[in-house]
Symmetry: D3
Subunit: 193 residues, 6 copies
Amino acid sequence: MRDKKCAMIETAFLAEEIEYTGAELRSHFVRERSGIEWDGVIAFVGPCGVAGERLVDLEDAEEQHEIISKRMLHFIAEQFQQPLREGNVRLRLFATIVKETLEEMSPGIEIKRDGDDLFVNDRKLTVAICTSSPLSTLFHYGININPAGAPVAAVGLKKFDVDPKRFGLAVLDRYERECESIERALRKVRGVS
Amino acid sequence: MRDKKCAMIETAFLAEEIEYTGAELRSHFVRERSGIEWDGVIAFVGPCGVAGERLVDLEDAEEQHEIISKRMLHFIAEQFQQPLREGNVRLRLFATIVKETLEEMSPGIEIKRDGDDLFVNDRKLTVAICTSSPLSTLFHYGININPAGAPVAAVGLKKFDVDPKRFGLAVLDRYERECESIERALRKVRGVS
Amino acid sequence: MRDKKCAMIETAFLAEEIEYTGAELRSHFVRERSGIEWDGVIAFVGPCGVAGERLVDLEDAEEQHEIISKRMLHFIAEQFQQPLREGNVRLRLFATIVKETLEEMSPGIEIKRDGDDLFVNDRKLTVAICTSSPLSTLFHYGININPAGAPVAAVGLKKFDVDPKRFGLAVLDRYERECESIERALRKVRGVS
Amino acid sequence: MRDKKCAMIETAFLAEEIEYTGAELRSHFVRERSGIEWDGVIAFVGPCGVAGERLVDLEDAEEQHEIISKRMLHFIAEQFQQPLREGNVRLRLFATIVKETLEEMSPGIEIKRDGDDLFVNDRKLTVAICTSSPLSTLFHYGININPAGAPVAAVGLKKFDVDPKRFGLAVLDRYERECESIERALRKVRGVS
Amino acid sequence: MRDKKCAMIETAFLAEEIEYTGAELRSHFVRERSGIEWDGVIAFVGPCGVAGERLVDLEDAEEQHEIISKRMLHFIAEQFQQPLREGNVRLRLFATIVKETLEEMSPGIEIKRDGDDLFVNDRKLTVAICTSSPLSTLFHYGININPAGAPVAAVGLKKFDVDPKRFGLAVLDRYERECESIERALRKVRGVS
Amino acid sequence: MRDKKCAMIETAFLAEEIEYTGAELRSHFVRERSGIEWDGVIAFVGPCGVAGERLVDLEDAEEQHEIISKRMLHFIAEQFQQPLREGNVRLRLFATIVKETLEEMSPGIEIKRDGDDLFVNDRKLTVAICTSSPLSTLFHYGININPAGAPVAAVGLKKFDVDPKRFGLAVLDRYERECESIERALRKVRGVS
């Protein structure tokens, strides 16, 4: 039985396009769209428009920001029975994986990470948020493809000739392997005094 | 990616016989003997002799009991980052699975469960204990094959013509599926007010 | 002070009949109906009809199932500050207790457990679900008395001449003792390395 | 079943005198001396002498302090599966209960609390520490009866004509009721948004 | 870097008066009114009137109590990712701090603590409640200044010539230091066996 | 009080050189060497030689590896009451910070991250491990300065003309800010359904 695969999360890249309005960041959206019955991350392409009550980030809400982008590659993750603190650390690791994957697919690009956000030449590439539902921790990670409409200086994957689907699949695969290797890491150590 | 198997635990039935002395109930014994790098349960056959300092159960230790059985089917489970309270509830579910499996393999047998112990005609069939290591929750579940030497009235699988290996594999398989279905169950409900 | 009873849960069998519609699976319903101010389980008799938004089980909701039974013995449990994973393991132990109690009260009956469900001759005897409120873990366990109206092949206690009240009290008593003995079990072991 | 007593902890005042050397602050000491099989607090009278490796408080150990008192009223508590942070908050509540009880038994006394320590006229009345075993959180609370030998200015119950046993029983009773009322408090509130 | 201040909570005394209606006991009220982006406690002065659905305490709600006071000193605390049980223990420690501070500012006063409530000559000085939001544990602690309108025998700070602002600042400062010293305490102990 | 600094961790760069033998990965080593009484990370320079029982990584121990490097920049972190799973996610974020800092200090360098390890041109730059003590989660992160003696192809900071102290201080500062910003992030979001 040794070669059985023990996976922590399942992933799926959705064929359909979906507009991200903020309402999608809720428990079981991943399940409903992908059929995943486990901790999971889905990726899909679509416009982004979040405002008002749907802004989960209070800083944004307080300053009446809107999050707008003509076309984005979206990731939504749901991990059950996971503390929000751990979820936020994972989100930053996810940001790192996005950065590393883009660096490989677009050699020579210079990306800066600031917390969970990525910038290229001081232009914002991403939006990110992590929150709790009553049953799980969820995050949204959005990467501009075409950032038209964004209220700040922004940039997108299109500019770097990166195919969103190929890119999305690579990120999903890396995050899945990262989560699994974390589980192996915590099971292969001695405790200390 | 939908048909990937998401497993919570791996299991293995060991070919070699091992004497259970109590010292085996420690972190990473499962890994060392089976190569499982994940939460896991192993089963093996061997004599049982636990006394003195190796008695994890303080009631036994206080009354200077010894746990002796000429030949037992042993299970050792290790599940990481799991609270001891949950581990004890799981152990009772494991006892239930042992009972159900034996009822199927030996039709007509009448087994009584008392907590994590099983009895046939008031004779003790099993020993069980759940404890913590610094990194995990562990349990030992021992089922008499030939209970010779036991300090109490006891009975074993031999008497019911049940093959230890076939039986052990069936229990491992059921527990693995039970653990996985618990994970699915907690991910498919709405929260309530 | 040694003989003081340390209880983890209180239980009550309600005199009144109550229809179970799904809305009863919420925090403090146990308290409101029984006055229990502690972790508790109540039992009562009444019809069952759950549909639409009140289906806590997403599999049922997705497939637009309805849960209908003319007369059921219901159990609702609320345990505070308990993780949902542990709650689901407990629910399966509760299913085991229901099975064991019925086997004793109706000798010769053959009951199959599949997760938290019980079947007699492939007919469904029970419905079960475990979920979270913001403050607690809750479960509903319904046992058909007269399953008329059930959308699947079903069977009830009436067929086995089992008195719902006597049965319900026996289950409550066993679950209460099981919960208490789990608490004792986790306090009487040595840790291991 | 409504009037059943739901207790969180059991308590016992030991008849024998025991010297407190620091070695008593370990898992299951409460059980061994009192037979309590639950979360528990014991009280007893005896000298106090803690030095070297047995100093659990690193500040004391670093400065090579010794904790000496000719005669103390000792409390040792063990609460299982309790986080150390919560245990430290409880210890301060215990200090408060000691203070309140002494204020009632010795009217006019002026006691200052500083964290988990109590002082009368700048003289140290108590020593206190909270730590973890692999299975539980433990605390020791020592109240000078006769502080002879203490390395700092100290004072004891004897000076206030307070009977250690009557005092100890009153503190045990209050802490037991406080722990129980905390459990009731967390079960009688609505969650908020 | 040694002298950097490591704080667990921030505190603020608000200049404006705010009526406490119960609706203020929700996540991020502290942030909205004070700009605190961390665990925090705010204090402010204002009338108190809580009834109906806004009664978080089910005992009050069941008995259709109203909480009324003409003028109170209010404290609202929000601590994130904190279990409700720990929050309730902290609330009692907060009650102790209120009591100790008032004893110092009003020498000779005799205050009785009963759980999280304070009484002077059997008159109620305070109201208190601790509950959970989806992201945090919150408490409200209200101290009568002028208890006119209270449905029970009550008393307020005015009677003792205690200035609410000076008093509030002293309580905030003590609670902040108490929380910090708890964090230091749990980091300076050896574990035991 | 708004501009008070709320820090999660303290950091220190030690003036003395220390050989890392594995024994340093224990609770309170950070405190003993730096006086930090809080969650903390220390950095220091010294040789590295870990073998046998001191190998916390069981994979290394099973294969009788030795970890040797003539001169390394070491980091040891201790964070109390932190689950090991979260600790492992943080360690990977720490690896990311090391990578980002080195990319900035040595423009043009190409670093690959694989879990918590970093490589330059397939040469190993780092060693890393995260484990639990009874009271905390600890990690060691070692970065070769001069990798002489390493049993695998390795590379060090010296080759890139990076000053270990300047580099270490930059990493400490970034990790401290990252930890703090994670705490702010989890306090500034609305929960979702």
